[in-house]
């Protein structure tokens, strides 16, 4: 009775991505599948935290990190074959994956315990540790960005390089500022009005808008590279950075996005 239970017809694209970045592909699937027990908990839990379903945050972080590592795995296709499977790269990726899993485990564990994950100062040393894990997992975009920069042979490489480096730099600036405050809101929330799906405040400044934009530079700038024109890549990079800082300043002034 050893008949296979694996009924996924694996496409050649997935095989190619897996060959280029086996660790990142593996963790992407793992994180995506881990949303299942979270959805089950969501269906069976009645608790809320700061006015939202308590499991919404773990769900969002799983989806966001799956998109993040999944994108990096796809981008690995543009690296010379075997780049990400050398000993040094595998070791580094293991550290990054450890940081990602630790972050997700605590965010989900905090939800189970009914407490805050970020901005939780009741357990000494925990919040700085989360910051360390966050910077570690974001650093992979910088390291891959620098690798593309050194390759620098095509417009696509340029777009990937700038996008990934911007993701790291902008995210560290925005998320770093956010983590040094007391929460993601600037100003007082009264009614709790939110933008659907994203959950950003419509009454107070919400630093998560700029965090979202900062982190998605890795998608916006490479998209511009598909035009094949280097000036377009640079132009989009500058404009995108400006928009991100605009949203950042807007939130710091205590103004909602819309």
């Amino acid at each position: 009775m050893t008949s296979g239970i694996v009924f996924s017809p694996r496409s050649r694209l997935v095989d190619r991505i897996h060959r280029a970045a086996p660790q990142l592909t593996g963790i992407t699937l793992l994180i995506a599948l881990a949303t299942l027990p979270i959805l089950a908990a969501m269906a069976l839990d009645g608790r809320s935290f700061q006015g939202e379903d308590i499991w919404l945050k773990p769900l969002k972080f799983h989806i966001a990190l799956a998109i993040y590592v999944g994108s990096l795995a796809v981008y690995a296709l543009a690296l010379p074959p075997g780049t990400m499977t050398t000993r040094r790269w595998r070791l580094y990726q293991s550290v990054v994956l450890g940081a990602i899993l630790a972050e997700l485990a605590w965010i989900s564990g905090a939800a189970a315990l009914g407490t805050g994950s970020h901005f939780n100062l009741t357990i000494p040393g925990l919040y700085p540790l989360m910051g360390l894990a966050a910077v570690t997992l974001t650093s992979l975009s910088l390291v891959m960005g620098l690798t593309f920069w050194k390759l620098g042979t095509s417009t696509l490489h340029l777009g990937l390089a700038i996008g990934l480096i911007l993701t790291f730099v902008l995210t560290v600036i925005v998320a770093g500022t956010m983590s040094n405050g007391t929460g993601h809101h600037i100003g007082t929330v009264v009614t709790g009005a939110r933008i659907p799906v994203m959950g950003w405040s419509r009454e107070a400044g919400d630093l998560r808008v700029a965090h979202f934009l900062a982190t998605h530079a890795m998608h916006a700038v490479p998209l511009a590279a598909l035009t094949g024109a280097r000036p377009v890549v640079w132009g989009v990079a500058v404009a995108y950075t400006a928009i991100t800082f605009g949203a950042f300043v807007q939130a710091l002034l205590g103004l909602p996005l819309i």
Binding site: S3, P37, L39, A40, L44, R47, W55, A112
Partner: protein, 143 residues
Amino acid sequence: MTPETLFQIANPLAMLGWLALLASPLAPRVLMPLASVVLPLLLALAYSGLVLAHLAGAEGGFSSLAEVQRLFTQPEIALAGWLHYLAFDLFVGAWATRTAHDEGIPHLFLIPCLVLTFLFGPAGFLAFWLLRTSRMVKKKASA
């Protein structure tokens, strides 16, 4: 979803798994993955959701029998415990079925062990091992 609703859904699911095991020689390629993987995973998913959602806020604990009893006075935790039985008993039943098939143990001998596992989990597991061991000894003796 209320614990009562989930209970009403989980029981027929487990029952379906046990019927699949009993009937497995008829269509092993469909029934075995159903009983050994799909249904235990569904139960495991519901169990995990319950534990994630309700264990931290529950009264009681694991440090003494009285604490454990207190834990199970809460419907959500009692349901989680019940799902634990259902999922693992079915999984053990599927393991026994597969092992019996691999080792050429006739399905007719397996059926009482499955019934025991369904009703009294570990007792069925024990019965299956007794059956297996006796056959091994017999095989050695005749070799």
